[in-house]
Structure formats: C-alpha cells, structure tokens
C-alpha cells in the first residue's frame, strides 16, 4: 500500500515550478529550498538570502500573489503555485514596474540587498489594496528588514507608486 504514495528519496529529482509565467523543470534534492532553487538552479539571482530562517524577508517571493518567504519552502512544496519573483515584476525588458520606478525616484534603496523582497511584498500589497495608508504599508512590509534606509523613503516610494497607479487608471 505504501508504494502508491509518491515519495521522493533524498536524491535530486525533477521539480516543476511555474515562475514568472514560465514552466521550469529542474532536478533538485527535496531539501533544496525554493530560494536556493531559484538562485542556483534557475539562475534567478534577484531573490536574496539574508538569514535562511525566515527572519529578514530578503527572500520574499509571491505564491499565487501572496508574499511568502522562499527560504521557508522546500522546492517540491512550491509545485502547483504561480510563483512571482522580482524579475517577474517588470512588464517587459525595457520597462520597469511602477514600484521600481518609484523606489528609484524616492531614493528608497541604498545597498539594494533588501530591495527585491520589499518590491515583491509591496507589489502584493498594491494588488489587493490600491490605496494603502502609511500604517498599512508599514504593516505589509513589517517582515522585511532594511539596514540602510530606516524605511521612511521606502514607505514614501510605495505610496508614490500607489498614486501613480491610480493616475494611470482609465476614467470610468
């Protein structure tokens, strides 16, 4: 009876991940985190490792639009989701997402290490709340540590992006 339950042994085996709209099949051990899988096996180095124990948010990605920490998911566990990383925020190669432009304009990044995580978390927020208050922005980013900026300019950037998105909406 036991044999019909799908079990992967410790060795590398194919994992199917749907990332930024594309299917990828990559052979990894079950213990490889989604974070390491994205970075080391799929070449997407935009998502960063800061602590590998879920305390800093640098590894934030979206699963089905919701911000989660990629260091706390093993690669096989991420099958079946639509995964979005910072590389997937841009509409195309020559255009930045409104959030990315806003971060630039508002000086919301210095070393840039926490920035991908911030962007992904902020994108998740704006997708479900187009008009967030300062408090709501801070709450949505409360799991993302930054050591450079003190957060004020990051919060301003998200608010700026929200305003810009509102302006771009077609009139009813």
């Amino acid at each position: 009876m036991r044999s019909r339950i799908p079990i992967r042994d410790v060795n590398a085996a194919d994992v199917r991940l749907h990332v930024n709209g594309e299917e990828h099949v990559v052979p990894v051990q079950p213990r490889v985190t989604l974070l390491d899988c994205l970075r080391d096996h799929l070449g997407m180095t935009g998502t960063h490792a800061g602590c590998e124990h879920g305390a800093c948010g640098a590894c934030t990605v979206q699963l089905d639009g919701e911000a989660v920490r990629a260091c706390l998911i093993y690669a096989p566990m991420a099958e079946g989701y639509s995964i979005t990383t910072v590389e997937g925020l841009q509409p195309n190669l020559s255009e930045l997402h409104v959030l990315q432009e806003s971060f630039w304009d508002a000086h919301a990044l210095q070393c840039g290490y926490c920035t991908p995580g911030m962007l992904v978390a902020a994108a998740g927020l704006l997708a479900r709340n187009a008009d967030p208050s300062q408090a709501e922005i801070r709450e949505a980013l409360s799991a993302n540590l930054c050591r450079c900026t003190g957060y004020v300019q990051i919060v301003e950037a998200v608010r700026l992006a929200a305003d810009r998105l509102q302006q771009r909406k077609p009139a009813p």
Partner: protein, 786 residues
C-alpha cells in the same frame, strides 16, 4: 532593483567550490585533534583544512596595533578562544554537501576555564586569553590634555557616573562573502568580495606571502551594506589559500550562524566611567573619561576604535581640559571589528549622558545646558584640548532651527498629554558631532611604530573621441551612491549633465591609490579627487581652446564645455572641436601638452600632514558635521515597552551633494541607532556561551519601530573641501542612541529611575517599573492623570 545586482552570492565561476566552517563549541579549549577522514570521504568534498596546516603556510593577520603574542590565523591552531571560532574548513561542490561534511569532522577538545567578564579579565588571577601576551589588557594609555587636576580642584561642582554601551553591531542583511580564483599562468589571484576595507589586497598578499601585485581585488561587486564591518580578512586569506592549493575558484559565503558569531564582526562593548567638573550654571570645565572596551578574543581594529573619538572627545562643547584613559581588554568572546563611527557613537552616548546629568544636578533644562556649552559660530576653526581643530559649525543655529521645526511647546504638550493618559513619556535630546574625512591619525597615535599619515582617494577621468566622459573609481560601494556622487561633482565642474557621465569601478591593479569608504570620507575625499581631476580637464580644455584661438588663457571663459573669448561670443571653440584637437590634431595642441584628454588626481586628506605629538595631541579627522536629535518616546508603565513616536533631527553636514542620498543615510543611521538603544545586543552567559546566534535572537528595527523622521537641514560649509561638503555616512547613528537614552530617562524621571546602559532591554525596564510600582514610587494611574 530589477534583480540584476551582482552581489558575491550571484557570482558564478566555472568549477567554483563552496566552503562551510567547523566551529568551536567551547569559549576556551585546547584543540587536541582534528579528524578529517570521514568528512573527506563524503562524495563531493574536495578538501578539509585544519588550522595547523594553514598556519604553516600563511603569515598571521595584523591587528590595528602590534601586540606581541597574539597570533591570529583564519583557523584556530592550538587553542580555540571563543565559541564559534573557526577550527576547520570544508570545501565541497556546494554548500549543502559542505555542511553535511562539517558534521563529520571530528574535533577533540580539552575545555579550559574561560574569562567572560571584562572587569574580571583585568584581575591578576584571570585566565589569559593569549597566554604569550601574559595579560588580557592589551592596551592601556592615559592622555591628559591641559590642566585637568587644577580644573577639578577649582570647579564648584563635580559628579561621577558610569554608563555602559552593550555589544551590538551593524549586522547588514547581506552576510560577508568572498570568491578567490587563481590563474597559475599569470600568477594572479583574483578576489571578489563584499568588502569595505582599506589595504585589503595588500593584507591578503602579505598573509599569503606573495607580492602585492599578485592579488587583484575587483571593486565592481555590489555590497549589501556594511557600515564598517565587512573586513573579511580571515575569510579572504582562507579562500585565497584554498584557491591556490586546489586550482579551482573557491567561495566562502557566511551563513547567518557563521556571520553572527564566527565572523568577528561585533562592535564596541564599553564601560565608561566619567567624572565631570562644572559651574553652577552648567558650563563644563573638565572631563575625566575612562573607556574600558571588551574586544573579545581578537582585537582587530578595536583598539584604534578607542582612539578615533579623541578627535571629538569634547563633543560640540567648549570644555577646557580632558583626561582620557583608553583600555582594551581581551575576553573569550567574538572579536571586534570597526563599526559605523569607529567608536564615536558610544563616546557620544557617554558625553550626552554626562550633559544630562549635569543638567539634573544644576536643576537646569537639558537643552539650556547644551546652549551654555556650545562652541559659538565665531570661534571656528576651534581647537579642542586633544589637539584637533574643528573646521566649521554653527551649533546654536541648528539647535534653534530644530526646536522651531519640532514646535517645542506643542511637543512638550504632546508629551504631557501622553502622561495624562497614564503612559510614561519623554523627550530626549542629543547634540553630537560626526567627524568626517577620515585620516589615519589614530594609527600613529596608538601605535608609535606606525608612522603612516598618507590617507588618500583618487579619481581618473577621461574624455573619449566621442566627447563622452568616463570616470573610474578605486573603491567598492555598499549603498552610498558613489556613482551619483562622482557624476554630480564631475558634471558640475565640467558643465555636463551627470547622467551623461559613465562611472566604472577599477580593480586594485588598475586603481589609483585609495582607502575605501570608511570614516565617512567619500563625499569629502572622492568629491575632492573628482573635483581635482575634473578641474584639470577643464584647465586643459581652456588651454587648448585659447591656444587654438591664439589668445591667452585669461582672455577666455569656460561655458559648459565650450571655450569662448570674453566679450567676443562668436570667437569660440566647442567641446567637440577641442576633443578632436586633443585626440587627433596634435599640430593644433599647445606645445608640450600630452595627447588625449584625461586626468588623474590623488587627493590627500586635508590637514593630514602631521604625526601626533608625544603627548597625544593630534589632528584627527578634518571635517566636523553636527546633528541634534529630538525624539519623543512613550513607555507603557506596565510592560516597559518603549515606542518612538516622533523624531526630529537638525543636521549640518556642510554642502550637500545629493539631498536624497543624505536623507536616506541620516534616517538609516537613526534607525540603526534606535536598534542599538532598545533592541540589539550580542549577549553571553556566564560560561561564555553566546545567547544570540540568529536574527530571531537579535531583533533589528522593522517598519513598525521607526517613525517618520523630520529633518531640518543647515549648511555650514567646510573651508577645507572641494565644495564645502562634510561627511554624512555615519550620520544619525552618531546621536540616536544617546537621544533615545535621554528620552527614556526623561520619561522615567518622575519616578526617580534612570537607565545607564544600552540597550534598554524590555524585560529589565519592565521589572524596574514593576518594582517601582510595588514600592509605591510608581504613581497609581489616577495620579498620572492630574
């Protein structure tokens, strides 16, 4: 921002191997044997290296001062001296396998009694961390400037107190990482690192016993924050050695556990004992400061970190005499590294705590005491007792602007309204200096054999055939926007849009001399070097244009790249015409000029020409920025939880080259300072076991902990720099811890309680409030409402 950064973790070289460390579980132990067999046998493992093997092949790493008897190697040799010290390294195909192999390395230890408490470490019967030194006190010197004893004798008032600055650090979100690759054909060791460290390539070469020009450090690596701590010398020597041995690129990327304890990146850990002599009106006459620093098992730069604050030992105040005793003591804990401000933030905390005490003793308002003591704007340049001259300042004006911006009376009213609701609430104040421009003067000050005074930064600028400008900088960047700085300065000198200037990073073989972004120096030093090089280009352009029009240089004007005869606007040579002459038409060049259009400038730090005097008077850094902090905090009287509700800061760093960048640094520094004041500490138990090893135990401020910071800027330019700019890289952190402590003490004042130690831990404050409540000194809630 688009995920295209190139951090050390993103570097991919063919055949690259990964490292993981075997670390000591004991704070002090003899290493008896390192059994590597099982680990080496694991498939995917290429090497397991122990300290004995490595020590035979490398020269020990240097410290800030020479201490005979401390042999510092990347891997412990005969003895482990702190929990987490690296004992062996595993090199494998990937980090997963390397960590599996680490568990198979079998080390046998003989545990010894550690010394953990810094004051106990000074006792004659203490265990000695480095037996060959014979004592744990590796540095002790007293400096006396002017007549301290006389001033104390004659002053009407004096008081003594002790404050403690707990062991914290900057803990960037990116850990330290380094890649080494060796090419035997060219005998060149290439290094990519997340680095902020002067003389990095030189020290690697020295340790590996190879010529300096056999090491090339690449500066085009993104660095995920540093604020002082990313020195990585033992990491780099380790991978450099391994790369040469194994013939494959090797990377050491700290995981967070390795980083927090074994990375030797802890900050100052100080006890300050202070005596102050003062007038009844609050004017301070004299200070006696004893600064005792626990530098852990390997001092690193820590002794120098006791010396740098000598350059601002009296803060922004007119104090006539100072005695300063600096003591650096080893214990069996993680080693200390340079942290943002290089000792100035703890010293500022001690100074400001003292000023608040003076205020309390005289019954004066804390802010008025500062006003009585400020150096006045007409007194600059002002020489403090320790010999350093402050370049410029207008502290009184910044102070007043700050109060106006914060609307002082309504701020007080808001504090009182919080108290009326039953909360404890306090307004804090700190006025401090940020020394900037970084010279090396603390090295010869504390290290008589070190007669280094050269401390420089460089810039190379070239204009190509197309008229485009490229500049090359000799330093890595960890978030300080150096590219923006260079482009802005050069663009301004040459009259070109900064966006049109390309900035590249050199490597250590192609770079001109530089010292990397330490000591809040880049705006000053890189700005100065960029201005110097750009001005040479401009002068050359003017000379070429004037010569071609057969007029004298003083008859023309430079107008955004064009050269125009004064008063005759149609007699002109355009930028592109001059570029063509420089690159192609040597027959039109002024005689003796070199072909092409390029310049380099190596800029020595202003006022960096002299060694310290025998009595320890010294010109430390050249430029002194000023900041005044005014936070409002609220404390829950039951839980002791402190929340920073409002934050105002007045900031004067001279000419600001990029306002958005400076604002970001200032707020970032304040956030860091709030963490140091309320949250962050590397704690140890009495047996020397670290209690803090992950980010779960080391809480750093989140978006919910930092309020909206209101900044009021003022500009007192420096007369010493290219554009009047001073530094801002350490701003905010210089004063925030002192200001938060001051605010908490203002809140606790009505209860007769005081905090003398940072960080102010929740559980400790909560218990003190509980005790006050039980003994009746905490007013019942109804009382607080009056």
């Amino acid at each position: 921002m688009a995920g295209q950064g190139r951090f050390v973790a993103d570097i991919r070289l063919p055949g690259m191997l990964e490292c993981a460390l075997v670390t000591s579980p004991y704070p002090r132990a003899r290493i008896l044997e390192v059994n590597r067999e099982a680990a080496r046998a694991l498939p995917g493992v290429h090497e397991v290296l122990s300290g004995l093997t490595l020590a035979a092949q490398v020269t020990p790493l240097t410290h800030g001062i020479e201490v005979a008897g401390i042999a510092w190697y990347p891997l412990a040799v005969d003895c482990a001296r702190y929990v987490g010290e690296w004992v062996a390294v595993v090199v494998a195909e990937d980090r997963y396998v390397a960590e599996d192999a680490v568990e198979l390395v079998d080390v046998s230890y003989e545990p010894l009694t550690p010394v953990v408490d810094v004051e106990a470490a000074m006792e004659p019967d203490s265990p000695i961390v480095h037996e060959a030194v014979g004592t744990n006190v590796i540095y002790r010197r007293t400096f006396t400037w002017n007549d301290v004893d006389d001033d104390f004798e004659s002053a009407p008032e004096r008081l003594s107190h002790r404050v403690r600055w707990g062991r914290s650090s900057t803990v960037p979100i990116e850990t330290f990482g380094v890649v080494a690759a060796y090419d035997p054909g060219t005998d060149l060791l290439d290094i990519w690192a997340s680095i902020q460290m002067p003389k990095f390539s030189e020290q690697i070469a020295t340790a590996l016993r190879i010529p300096h020009s056999n090491v090339r450090v690449h500066y085009d690596v993104d660095v995920g924050g540093s604020y002082g701590v990313k020195r990585g010398l033992k990491h780099a020597v380790l991978v450099g050695y391994l790369a040469r041995q194994l013939g494959r690129p090797v990377r050491l990327l700290e995981d967070r556990l390795e980083n927090m304890i074994g990375g030797d990146a802890h900050g100052p850990d100080r006890i300050f004992d202070i005596d102050v002599a003062f007038e009844r009106d609050g004017r301070v006459r004299s200070l006696i400061i004893r600064a005792l620093d626990d530098c852990g098992a390997f001092p690193g730069r820590s002794v120098l970190q006791l010396g740098k604050p000598i350059g601002a030992i009296t803060g922004p105040y007119r104090i006539g005499s100072v005695r300063y005793e600096a003591i650096c003591v080893c214990t069996n804990k993680t080693g200390q590294v340079a942290v943002r401000g290089f000792g100035q933030a703890p010293t500022n905390f001690a100074l400001e705590a003292t000023m608040d005490r003076v205020a309390a003793a005289t019954g004066m308002d804390r802010l008025e005491v500062r006003r009585h003591n400020y150096i006045q704007s007409h007194e600059f340049p002002y020489r403090i007792p320790s010999g350093t001259e402050y370049d410029s300042g207008d502290y009184e004006t910044v102070h007043q602007k700050l109060l106006d911006r914060a609307d002082w009376p309504t701020l007080v009213a808001r504090r009182d309204a919080l108290r009326a609701k039953g909360m404890l609430a306090g307004i804090g104040f700190a006025s401090v200096l940020e020394p900037s421009g970084g010279n090396a003067a603390f090295e010869p000050l504390l290290n008589p054999h070190n007669d280094t005074t050269t401390w420089m930064e460089s810039c190379f600028v070239k204009v190509d055939h197309d008229g485009c400008v490229t500049t090359s900088i000799a330093t890595p960047t960890s978030g300080q926007a150096h590219e923006t700085l260079m482009a802005t300065v050069i663009g301004e000198e040459l009259g070109i849009e900064p966006e049109l200037i390309r900035v590249v990073h050199a490597d250590t073989l192609t770079a001109l001399p530089g010292n990397t972004p330490v000591a809040s120096r880049m705006a000053i030093m890189m700005g100065g070097a960029a201005a110097g090089a750009a001005r040479q280009i401009r002068d050359t352009v003017i000379a070429i244009g004037a010569h071609d029009m057969q007029v004298r240089v003083d008859e023309v004007e430079y107008a955004n790249g064009d050269v125009v005869v004064r008063g005759r606007p149609d007699e002109c040579r355009t930028w592109m015409q001059i570029v063509a002459i420089a690159h192609r038409q040597y027959h039109r060049m002024p005689p003796g000029f070199q072909p092409g259009l390029q310049a380099h400038f190596v800029y020595q730090v202003p006022k960096g020409e002299r060694l310290p005097a025998a009595d320890g008077t010294v010109q430390m850094y050249p430029c002194y920025a000023f900041e005044a902090h005014l936070p409002l905090v609220e404390i829950d009287p039951v839980t002791g939880r402190v929340r920073v509700r409002e934050y105002y800061v007045g900031h004067d760093c001279g000419t600001i080259i990029n306002p958005g960048v400076v604002r970001g640094m200032l707020i970032g520094g304040i956030a860091h300072g709030i963490g140091a004041a309320l949250l962050e500490e590397f704690r140890y138990d009495s047996e020397g076991q670290p209690l803090v090893g992950t980010l779960l135990d080391y809480p750093m401020p989140t978006t919910l902990d930092i309020p909206d910071v209101q900044i009021v800027e003022h500009c007192t330019p420096s007369p010493l720099t290219s554009h009047g700019q001073k530094g801002a890289g350490e701003s905010g952190y210089m004063g925030a811890p002192a200001a938060i402590a001051s605010a908490v003490n203002d809140a606790l004042g009505p209860l007769g309680l005081r905090c003398e130690r940072l960080p102010i831990r929740l559980t400790e404050l909560g218990e003190r409030l509980a005790a006050a409540s039980r003994s009746g000194t905490l007013p019942a809630p109804e009382d607080l409402q009056r």
